[in-house]
Subunit: 224 residues, 2 copies
């Protein structure tokens, strides 16, 4: 069985898990804390980042969330998630990159550093100014998601795609860390409530990161 090296708040691992869930690929979770830079993990992935997937039976090792998602999209027919024409697929990949780079850099990375890494690793308190800035940027990003959903059923186009999973993965980590203000984002809320209720999503909502509790609404399907 596949092993997935990850930690509960890794947004890139969440994206992979959502894809594996939609495609009904079985896997076992292996807890990895990349900030510890464990020698055996660096040997596996010199970049030192989660997610990594390993299949001990075949010896296959998959590294990097984009490479992992493309691999399962190519090898598992069920639930095509980078779907449609070449132009549709380019739009899905653009939006995956948007969440993996822009949303992550503007919102998720500063929240994770201030609320998680500072606490777990450096034993410091978060910088309120940086948190406020990240939350302000999150609002601008949700405005963009609202805009996309005004024109489309799903974030990447007419059907559920990897763009939705990437967006939900990053938003869910930001939401866990108290960085999302849901007021005024009706479209995005409705879309996110739909995603939260999917069988691929629900197990993740039940998991907790040590020492950090999410806000009360985090795992509720109809609260924000």
């Amino acid at each position: 069985m596949w092993q997935l090296f990850q930690f509960p708040l890794c947004p890139f691992s969440r994206k992979v898990r959502l894809l594996l869930g939609e495609k009904s690929v079985g896997y076992e979770l292996v807890r990895e804390s990349p900030w510890l830079r464990r020698d055996e993990f660096i040997d596996l992935n010199p970049a030192g980042q989660t997610p990594v997937m390993a299949d001990p039976t075949s010896g296959i090792l998959l590294i990097d969330s984009t490479a992992i998602c493309e691999y399962f999209e190519e090898t598992i027919d069920k639930a095509a998630l980078i779907n449609g024409t070449a132009v549709n697929r380019a739009e899905i990949r653009r939006l995956v990159a948007w969440f993996d780079t822009q949303f992550y850099g503007d919102v998720v990375a500063p929240l994770m550093y201030e609320r998680m890494e500072k606490r777990l690793v450096h034993r410091m308190t978060p910088d309120a100014k940086i948190l406020r800035e990240a939350m302000k940027r999150a609002i601008a990003h949700l405005d963009y998601v609202d805009f996309l959903l005004d024109h489309r059923n799903w974030i990447g186009g007419a059907t559920l795609s990897l763009a939705d999973l990437a967006a939900a993965a990053h938003i869910s980590v930001a939401d866990y860390l108290g960085g999302i203000d849901w007021k005024g984002h009706e479209q995005t809320r409705r879309w996110y409530a739909g995603l939260k209720s999917r069988p691929s999503f629900r197990p993740m909502l039940a998991e907790r990161m040590e020492v950090i509790a999410p806000p009360k609404h985090y795992d509720k399907l109809d609260e924000f």
Copy 2:
């Protein structure tokens, strides 16, 4: 004809140009300086980053270097660059992500900020300490490329792939900015000399970024 919005030292645009060159896809260069945040460009790409490709005839707009490369890989049969089995393809994509994220973040981004953006935008002198740190990290990265080339003919496997083009794109920008110390990296030098002599690469070596001159060896095929 395709238009490619880019500037001469954008490593992500260089990766796309190398791929288009290998596949013999014609395009016209449109100079874009993303740091100016031109309104018309932000309308085109809300992420505000190069490369962007537009085809005025069909109205197709492609954004993000990964999405662009995958698009042409899917639509142009000539010169498969994400090739081989699903596992080979995952390894190629891992290495593309390695150069686009790790090498870029460790080496290219600080060099570009210190040597290009500070000069062009902020009229400041570069920070020597940050430059030294980036150059030291570049050495560790070239050690890794040496290691890969000890085991393979090309960076991603047995044949030329997008991993080589991504690596060459980022290394060439770092080399232009004086950040690469070629001493002791015999394997990587030989590989890079081979890439430099390809018709897809040579036009880029002749281009210059205003106010910043590359070191003398930069566009020579046999000097380092």
